[in-house]
Every structure is written in C-alpha cells, then in structure tokens.
C-alpha cells in the first residue's frame, strides 16, 4: 500500500470514529436532557430507549421497572420484542442479590443461565434474541433493567459499547428513581389526606355530640345549637364562602353556647325572665365557651372566637366586651344573627315564638344596630331561595316547621324585607319581585 493510500485510509477511519463519537455523545446528551426535563415518565422512558438503541444500532430492546412489593420487573417500554414477550417477570431473592452484586453493568444472557431468572425466562429471552440484560442498580437499590437485542451490524458488543450503555442506563435509572419518589410522595399525601379526613370526621362527631349535650341541658331550647349551626351555614353559603369556611361556620354555630354547660341548669331553664344576678351568671357563658374551645385544635379557624363574641352587637351594646362593629370577629357576627334568628323563631320558657311579620320587622329594625346588613340579606336570601323553590334545600322548613313556612304572606314579607335592605347592602343588587 502506498503511503498516500495509507494516509487516506487512516483519515477516513478517523472520520468514521469521529462521526461515531458525535452520534453517541449526541444521544448521551439527549438522554440526560430528557430525564432532567421530566415530562411524562412513559415518554421519557420511550425516548430513552430509542436513544439507547439508536446510539449503538441495536435492533430491539426494552426497559423494565422493578416493583419491590411484587418482586416483578414490569415492562415500561419495548421495541421489537414481539407480543409474546412477558409484560411482568418475577425475580427471586437470589436474582435480586446477584443483580445487586453485579451493579449497573451489562450481563451477557448466554453466560448467566445459572441464575433462576434466566432459566425461567430462557424461552422468551431466546425468542426475542436478547443478548444483554442491564440491571439498573443505583445506590444498592435495584430499580429496573434494560433488555438489549443484537446489533444491526451483527457484531459483538464491545467494551466501549458497554460503557455507553452504562452511562445511558444510569440516566434511565435516575428517571425511574424520580418516578418512584414521586409515587411515594403521592401515596403519602394520599395517606395524610385520608388521615386528615378521619380526624375531621372524629371532630364532627365530637362537635355534634357536644351540641346535643348543650341542647339537652336546655330543655326549652332543644335543638337550638344545631339550628344555629344550620343558619350559620346558610348565611356563609350565601356570602359565597368556600366549602371549608361554610363547614367552619356550621361548627362555630354548633358550639357557640358550649359555655352554658358551666351555667346552672335552673338559670338556663328558668320559666320566667331571669333577674339581674342570674342574668350576669348566664352572661358568663361566652367567656366560658371560649375557655373550653380555645385549647382545642379546630380544623376551622374562629370557632372559639365565635363562642366568645356571639352576643356582641355592632352598636357596642352587646356583651361580654361591648365591642363595636369592626372589632367583632366576622364569624361571631354570623353566629350572632343565626342565634338571634333562632331565638325569635322558637318558643322560649316564658314566651311563644314570634310571628313571621314580627320577626322580619325586628330583623330590619336591628340591622345596622345588632346585625351586619349583608348578613341579614344573606339569611333572607337563603330563605327566599327555599320559599321560591330556587333552591332544593329544605333547611328552613325542617328548622321552622311546615306550618311556619307556609303561613300566609311569608314570601311577600321576606321579599319586602329583602328589598328594604337593598340600599344598605352591596349584596342586594337583585330586587326580588
């Protein structure tokens, strides 16, 4: 061979080597990018498999993910393995031990027949012409594996090929590890959510039991706490609060009078107007309620404050602290209205409940003095929706009784009250006809 020819042969070999390097390093760079971009796990693995096969001209292959609970390798992505290739492949303890000992390096399937795995799946591996299996081991953990078939060139895998496969395999292992981590996080978040839901259920049951206990102590106002809870819920819903807050308002209502369990039964049940001394005793119940509720961790904010301030008035003439309008926690204003509405619409030891016209006149008269206008509007609007059939809810009917709800002229009364409130409330844009 002439020197000239030798030079040109050397040059073209060098050029081919260079092209090969550019090609494989391109694939290596892309696989790294693919994994760090974290689109969709399936797509990442599919792309990665293309890159592994395409970088070295490997005719077929597949990526499997190891699931520890089932001790199984599950196919994530496969190319050219045929429909008969198993989707899930079981591993025994010895297989796992050997794969871990081997680490992330290609195993020649032909030479690994001593392992149970290669004996059990000998036929499938043979049929798919799999030559290499790469256990994806990272930090002593088996995450999955890569099956690789023959090269398009028909040549044996070189040690250079195997190094490239290892480098790419490490990226795929990271993708699987990330996926496992995400799945674990999701599982824990799910578990936490379930736990939180359980806790909330326990809380609800406890609160309802408490409400029932309060109401039992006060025989003339049986069901008062539950009704105040329901009315508070309606007001909150009409105010456009979120579901959590609506639930919170209901519970604030259920518990508002919990302080009454510290007040003597004969004062609560007095069938007459109580005297000043008894009255001052009864007026301690908001503070007592706060003392009871404050140390408990409630899933809803404001429950203890609602108990403490549910007898405050906008005009500062309420108790225990005589707070003015903006000083009163909003949830306490909601419960205050619900409480007053129930007091007016239910029988008391010393008087019958008031008629609908009286109630709505009272509400209107005290709007701005005791009650916040938008809250009165919200309550009336809730009632109007039920009366007009706009809402399928039957709360008022259940609380007030059919007779009261069907009493003549109730709808015009509520409508008049609502429209009468319009100028003072931003929430009454829609006049009821």
């Amino acid at each position: 061979m002439k020197l000239q020819d030798m030079r040109s042969t050397n040059f073209s070999r060098f050029a081919a080597e260079r092209n090969k390097l550019v090609h494989t390093f391109g694939a290596l760079a892309e696989i790294g990018q693919e994994v760090s971009n974290k689109h969709n796990f399936q797509e990442t693995i599919r792309t990665s498999l293309h890159l592994v096969l395409g970088s070295l001209g490997i005719m077929r292959g597949g990526v499997v993910r190891y699931t520890r609970f089932e001790n199984e390798l599950n196919m994530v992505s496969a190319r050219g393995l045929g429909d008969d290739f198993p989707f899930g492949m079981s591993l025994c303890y010895e297989d796992e031990r050997q794969f871990l000992a081997n680490g992330l390096y290609p195993i020649e399937c032909d030479q690994a027949r001593v392992l149970p795995f290669f004996q059990v799946y000998d036929r499938s591996i043979g049929q798919a012409k799999i030559e290499l299996f790469v256990p994806l081991v990272v930090r002593d953990e088996l995450l999955g594996g890569i099956f690789l078939g023959e090269k398009a060139s028909g040549e044996q895998y070189t040690s250079y090929d195997k190094e490239i496969i290892c480098a790419m395999g490490r990226h795929i292992a990271v993708a699987i590890s990330q996926r496992n981590l995400m799945a674990e996080l999701e599982r824990r978040a799910d578990e936490n959510r379930r736990l939180y839901d359980d806790l909330k259920m326990t809380y609800k049951d406890t609160v309802k039991a408490f409400a029932a206990a309060i109401d039992r102590k006060d025989k003339y106002t049986e069901g008062h706490s539950v009704r105040v809870g329901k009315y508070s819920e309606i007001i909150a819903r009409e105010l456009g609060w979120g579901e959590e807050e609506i639930e919170g308002a209901a519970f604030a209502g259920y518990l508002h009078d919990i302080g009454k369990i510290t007040v003597e039964r004969k004062i609560i049940n007095a069938p007459y107007r109580i005297n000043a001394k008894e009255s001052s005793e009864l007026n301690k119940h908001p503070g007592a309620g706060f003392e009871i509720l404050q140390p408990i961790r409630h899933p809803y904010a404001g429950v203890p404050l609602a108990a403490k301030y549910h007898h405050e008035r906008l005009d500062g003439r309420g108790y225990p602290d005589g707070l003015y309008d903006r000083e009163i926690p909003y949830i306490a204003k909601v419960v205050n209205l619900a409480d007053a509405f129930d007091a007016m619409t239910s029988d008391r030891p010393y008087r019958r409940r008031r008629s609908a016209p009286e109630v709505f006149e009272d509400l209107q008269r005290n709007t701005g003095k005791q009650f916040a206008p938008e809250l009165v509007t919200a309550l009336l609007r809730g009632m109007m929706k039920e009366l007009s059939g706009e809402s399928k809810d039957k709360t008022f009917r259940k609380m007030l009784g059919r007779e009261y709800m069907e009493s003549e002229g109730l709808m015009p009364i509520v409508r008049t009250a609502l429209n009468g409130l319009a100028p003072t409330s931003p929430l009454t844009f829609v006049a009821y006809k």
């Binding site: 090609h23 395409g54 001209g57 190319r79 060139s153």
Partner: protein, 105 residues
C-alpha cells in the same frame, strides 16, 4: 410544516415512499413507523425512505428506522434508503443498517 401523516405515499406497484424530513428525529417520528407497518399490512412489499430533505439523522431516527427494517424483514419486504447525504450514509454504514437495506444514491 406538512402533517406527518402525509409523509407516506404509496403507488400501485406495492411500493410506499416515506419522506424522512426531520420528523424521524423526534418521538413523533414513531408515526412514520406505524404508517409503514400499516402499508406493509396492506400488502406493500417495498418501502422507500427518502432522505433528500434530511440533513442529519439522530439516535431516535436510527431507532425508528430499525423499527421499519424490523417490520419489513418480518414479512420479507424490502427497504430502500434513497438519497441519504454522505454523513448519513456513513452513519448507516457504521451502525450496520446498510446490511439490511439498499442504499440508492
């Protein structure tokens, strides 16, 4: 850019021509492979992959082409790579694809 689905044409002689373009180099290139398989199933016995508009073929492209080769060889159909540039031809040669296809300059 033309829709990938219009990249496969077939004539009455049972030959399907695929324009590789640069579609091959992305995951979406799998569509070309799927369509080739469909043509083969319809009875097509020759697949021509036209590289006249292809500047470079990356690893994803190679993998998809091997899928086409695999599908064709399974039923004894022929694959022709038409007009690949010099660099692409060298790459096919280096990776051994030329053992399975006919290169048409």
């Amino acid at each position: 850019m033309t829709e990938v689905s219009s990249q496969v044409l077939s004539d009455s002689q049972g030959t399907a021509t695929v324009f590789a373009g640069d579609y091959l180099n992305k995951l979406s290139g799998e569509r070309i492979e799927r369509e080739c398989r469909a043509k083969l199933n319809e009875g097509c016995r020759e697949i021509i992959v036209d590289f006249s508009g292809t500047e470079i073929v990356n690893s994803i492209g190679i993998s998809i082409l091997m899928g086409v080769i695999d599908a064709a060889s399974g039923i004894g159909a022929r694959v022709v790579f038409a007009e690949p540039n010099k660099m692409t031809t060298e790459l096919f040669d280096m990776l051994g694809l030329t053992r399975h296809v006919e290169i048409r300059a």
